[in-house]
Amino acid sequence: MRISELRISGSGLIVDGVDLEVSSGETVGLVGESGSGKSLTARAATGLLPKGLRATGSVTLDGRELLGARERVWRSVRGTRVSLLMQDPFAMLNPLRTAGAHVAESLRGRRDRAEVLRRLAEVGIDDPDVAGRHPFQLSGGMRQRVALAAALAADPGLLIADEPTTALDATTQHEILMLIRGLQRARGMGVLLITHDLRVAFELCDRVAVMYAGRIVEQGPPAEMAKAPAHPYTAGLLAAVPTVERRLPRLIGIRGSVPSAAQVSATCAFAARCDQATSECAHARPPLRELRPERLTACLHEVRPRTRVEEGGQERRQVTGDEVLRVTGLRRTYGSHVALGGVSLHVNRGESVGVVGGSGSGKTTLARCVLGLVRPDSGTIELADPVRPRHQLVQCVFQDPSTSLNPALTVGATLTEAAAQGPAKDRLTPAELLELVGLPVAYARRRPAGLSGGERQRVAIARALSVRPALLICDEPVASLDVSVQAHVLELLREVGTSMLFITHDLAVVRQMADRLVVLARGEVVESGDTAEVLDAPAHAYTRRLVASVPAAP
């Protein structure tokens, strides 16, 4: 498949001239942050753009022009020549049909049960009973496998996988990626992998294209790109990716936020956020130039090697002996499902304790119990101060700031309201709170819709801090944020310095954030200890599996 000069516009320009080629037998990664237009590029390449968007340019498959083709032509191509695998395994399958039916309906030619089972076995589902189950009876990883079998049922030459593992937890993510790689090799098909995660793309792909504000800014083999990025944006992204191997003294994000493609159509898209920008960058749009064969960049300059932050002395925070939280023997069951099977842990004042585990490990139930949102079946939760009400002692930062903030209230109103729940003595004003999280005071008049994802999460943090809680629970606080923003938010949480219970599935993030670590599996603590010790020398098999599934840092 060859995509050239692809432009997509709706009410504004979204994708601005993308050129990309995928041959059979190769895996190409398309990496970009949210809003970069990568998913729409995938949709355009399968003729599935949402209503109201138009694409111009050219999409050819084996020399045949498809862009602007009739729906009938597309239908003859989809499935058999090119197939699309999407992000959310929970939404991708028809809830009313069985797994087997999904595969069977996509097959061409033979449609008997034996063939369905063979196809399911190809994606690693050996249990023939799965074919008769409905999607809601399957785990996320299983669903993604079923979807993959369905997408490949008509033996396409090209698979476009749009964030196929983003909604899965780390170990499953790794399994699915390895499965895609195995299938790609066995079938000799082409794969276009779309992801926001540089590590995933580098691990899997033969060639990686980095997309920013609707255009491709750099392209090349992953090894070279990781060693010497040829575009400052790539360099910034690489610097912002947290590593599981060591704790960085400072986390560096990219300043500013992603512009829309229309705003930067006549300049270098990255100029406003670039440290190396010169006046030339703002005058004309730099073309994608060839550095070496296979190596393209849209930067006029030679990129300075990234300044590695040298490992200074591991400045540890002041941790005192008194506890702000002690949880003993916490149990909670939902019907026959054991969410928490007797969990005990404690957090000292000033300490940050990480809780890691896959989905279904009970992390979120634990957080909800401590917050008092869920009543445990048995076990005790002791907080620092038995007199103050719980909501003044523990506060929470949730995963998705776009749904955890009330869209109807201005930021100022949200913060005032939150602060009013605290003690009446020296209440924090919205201005103080905004300053605390590094936002301009003028933001108090805005509503959440007028803020970027990272800014919203800062407001959510400010809201949690408004009652001066003794303990801050962070439930996947950066999981819905882009890498460049993630670093800023993590750095902010480090600076805040409150005692923290940091819940995440991302070991690289927890390495950066936690002093101590508790590993949860199926509602039980399987391992705990100093973060560095646990991650460098995991003792429990489950922890080892978690650590092994982290994509290698670039």
């Binding site: 599935l48 989809r78 699309l84 939404a91 991708m92 028809n94 809830p95 369905a150 997408a151």
Partner: protein, 314 residues
Amino acid sequence: MAVVKRLCAAVLLLGILSVLTYGLLAAAPGGPEQVLLGGRPSTPETRAAIRAQYHLDDPFPVRYARWLGDALRGDFGTSISSREPVTTVIADRLPVTAGLAGYALVLTVVVGVPAGLAAAMRRGGRLDQGITLASLVALSIPSFALSILLLYGFAVALGWFPVFGAGDTPMDRLVHLTLPAIALAAAQAAIVVRQMRAAALDLAAQDFLTFARARGLPRWRVWVSYALRNAALPVLTVGGLLLAANLTGSVFVEQAFGLHGLGALLISAVGEKDIPVVQALVLFGGAIVILVNLLIDLAYVAVDPRVRHKAATA
């Protein structure tokens, strides 16, 4: 298991309804004898005869039990005004109303579902705007006003349909019921159009529909087993409730078209204080609503494996 539970709940509901219905007679103004006497002269002898006939001197629970026993055997007593058994009176009227309700439901589904789907597919276009506007108009015209408009236009001015009556042969019946069914179905079809449009719009944004298209599935399969089947659930609920409403609530339309259906019967029975008939009709209406709801629940179980699974484990 869950089905049994729902059945039990339905029986319990009917029981409560029957107590309330029977209470109607006891609470009637002037006492039950007065009501049961109807237009007959009220002398001590006739009153005593009535008391004896209806066992009115027994305590309430005993009377209720006797009445319920009779009702279960299909005996709701005798209509006061016509002196015929209540069941005969109702059986006389039921075919017209049932035919009207069924006809209206068919019209509602046949027009409402495709129109809603079409509106959703052409979202924001002329067709969508037209359908949305038409459904708004249909919703806001009261059925009796629409009845009169239809009567004037198609029966009086154009002469295509009869003005009055229900017809005798099946074909004749169909012709006679067409205008009333349209009048009854208009507002309901509008509701179904809106439900269907919303459900389909909701679906169009779902990944599984896109994923189905991305695998190159034929169009009919995407529409039938993906879009229609998933949209069926909310529409089913509304459709069932509309059917129940049709059977008991077609009063205005029946009056306007001079149909001797259950609605007309209910009005005259209330007017003449024909309590046995009112009792039977109320109980019948309640039973229909409960039965239809039960059927909707069962349909959910049949259509949605998630409900089926829950029903099996609960």
